[in-house]
Symmetry: C2
Subunit: 310 residues, 2 copies
């Protein structure tokens, strides 16, 4: 297999792009896809202060490295979920990565915030993955607001986005469909949210991380029963195999043809938001959802201590 | 397995409805689904003159029998495609069925119309299934208009509809998405088109045809490489197996939530139509697509005869 660009020996085949690349040309391809995403979707400029959410996985670290090399103003943010050895290992990978490449990093500890995930799992009756997602999004936005970052970037790749779009489409959930995309504009109390890797597949970001020698945290979360949308991702692997390029086409044509239709009927929705009386985050009630979870945990812990003492 | 309704021994299990039925209760279930479709989607009333397209397959004959038993004003229409033994066998099944049940029947022969499918396959450079579909839709509408039927019913079932919706969704083809549904209203030159079996799966219509002892034409068309959307139907069988009821939910929520969104952005499209100078059918050019195919075939046959004589 020859590199499509320079005719050297290829190291990676990309049927979706009807191409194969050697290492330097694959890295150039990766760069071009990120550049195209930033330019066409107007994600950000070199004047923006960008906070990059770093879990320690291949996608977020690949994103950080590439944006840094492109000389964007990037700062990492890691949420330490407090899930024992798993969280310690993830945090260590993120800290080592940022130190190695000279990236500034913020770490927020859920233990210190009164929201460690083991307590959430023990006391909160909702699925822990759902609460964990909510808590992470809350702190992503809070740190961005508190420290003056106007853009929040996450490492969602094409497979993540397609699986989510597919799940929303199966339910024809117009509220989600009108919002889904690689750029959610800044609104009162919320930083702009961007997904610069949305044109790149999971295979492509994994390949980038491998070729760049990034040390990633790849162990699954001990609290999760598996990656989200696993069934949909398998189904899409089959569709993509039958018709290479279909995955990107589905997402890209959604953005061009369908999202405007959903946005046009969904304009009237959206509750009025005000600052949470506790943390100042935008919320439709007096206290935001995350502060309510924190309160519930504190109550439960108090009750348990009461029982122990009785 | 007991019947969900009467607790007798069940003969058919329907996981999508979390139910199993004995024969009489399944037939009642089938009836109720057709009634619900007609009522909720305002398909037609007992005052309408309904032309039912009969291929000879399980779906169209099941539809005809059930609408007849519900005392709607139904007349069958069979298009004899002229594909040798296959078409002779299909036509014989339709004629025997209508005679047995006392249904009036129109038959239009493509041989006599100068459009036999073997010639289409031989001379027309487009996929024969695509031209055949166009020709059938043309004569469905022409017979309806010429003979004063205001409603044209076809036997499309839930699996057909979901596979088509899924194909249109993968491409986010808003022109098709804004139109797809169980009822396309009457417009200038076009009869109302309805699909009263859209709430029933392929398995359910097959089961109905079997229980009713309908003799069906089940051989695949010799010109087709297989049923349309086979890949999508397999994929949906898997989705339905993982989450029973999802297939109907996808279609039903599309109609409720998404179709209005596509219709709202697609209003401005649609070419101006005028009557075909040859057959009077609505068309955007001077001669309609089917008359153009007929002309091409006549030219080709002439040329061949010229060669033979030379």
């Amino acid at each position: 297999m020859k590199c499509k660009r320079c005719r050297e020996q290829a190291v990676v085949g990309l049927p979706s792009h009807n191409a194969a690349f050697c290492e330097p040309c694959f890295l150039l391809f990766f760069r071009r896809q990120v550049e195209t995403a930033i330019r066409r979707q107007k994600l950000f400029t070199r004047q923006d202060r960008i906070l990059v959410a770093l879990s320690g996985g291949k996608d977020s670290l690949a994103l950080m490295l590439e944006l840094g090399r492109m000389e964007y103003d990037v700062t990492g943010l890691h949420i330490d979920l407090g899930i024992g050895e798993s969280s310690r290992a993830a945090r260590a990978k993120v800290e080592a990565f940022c130190e190695k490449h000279g990236f500034p990093l913020r770490v927020v500890e859920m233990e210190a915030e009164g929201l460690p995930m083991p307590l959430v799992k023990k006391y909160i009756k909702r699925p822990v993955c759902s609460v964990c997602g909510k808590v992470k999004r809350h702190y992503f936005n809070k740190v961005a607001r508190d420290e003056g970052f106007n853009v929040l970037a996450t490492g969602h790749n094409l497979d993540d986005e397609v699986a989510r779009l597919f799940a929303n489409t199966l339910r024809w959930d117009t509220a989600y469909l009108s919002d889904q995309g690689p750029m959610l504009p800044e609104t009162e109390g919320f930083a702009r949210k961007v997904k610069p890797l949305f044109r790149l597949s999971e295979f492509e970001t994994a390949n980038y991380a491998f070729l760049k020698g990034i040390e990633i945290h790849s162990d699954p979360c001990p609290f999760s029963s598996g990656a989200s949308f696993t069934g949909h991702k398998l189904l899409w692997a089959d569709l993509e195999h039958r018709s290479p390029g279909q995955k990107f086409g589905f997402y890209d044509k959604f953005l061009k043809n369908a999202k405007p239709a959903f946005a046009s009927i969904d304009k009237e929705f959206g509750a009025t938001l005000r600052p949470c009386e506790c943390c100042g985050s935008p919320t439709s009630s007096e206290r935001c959802g995350v502060c309510r979870v924190r309160d519930m945990l504190a109550d439960k812990v108090c009750q348990e201590q009461g029982k122990d003492e009785a």
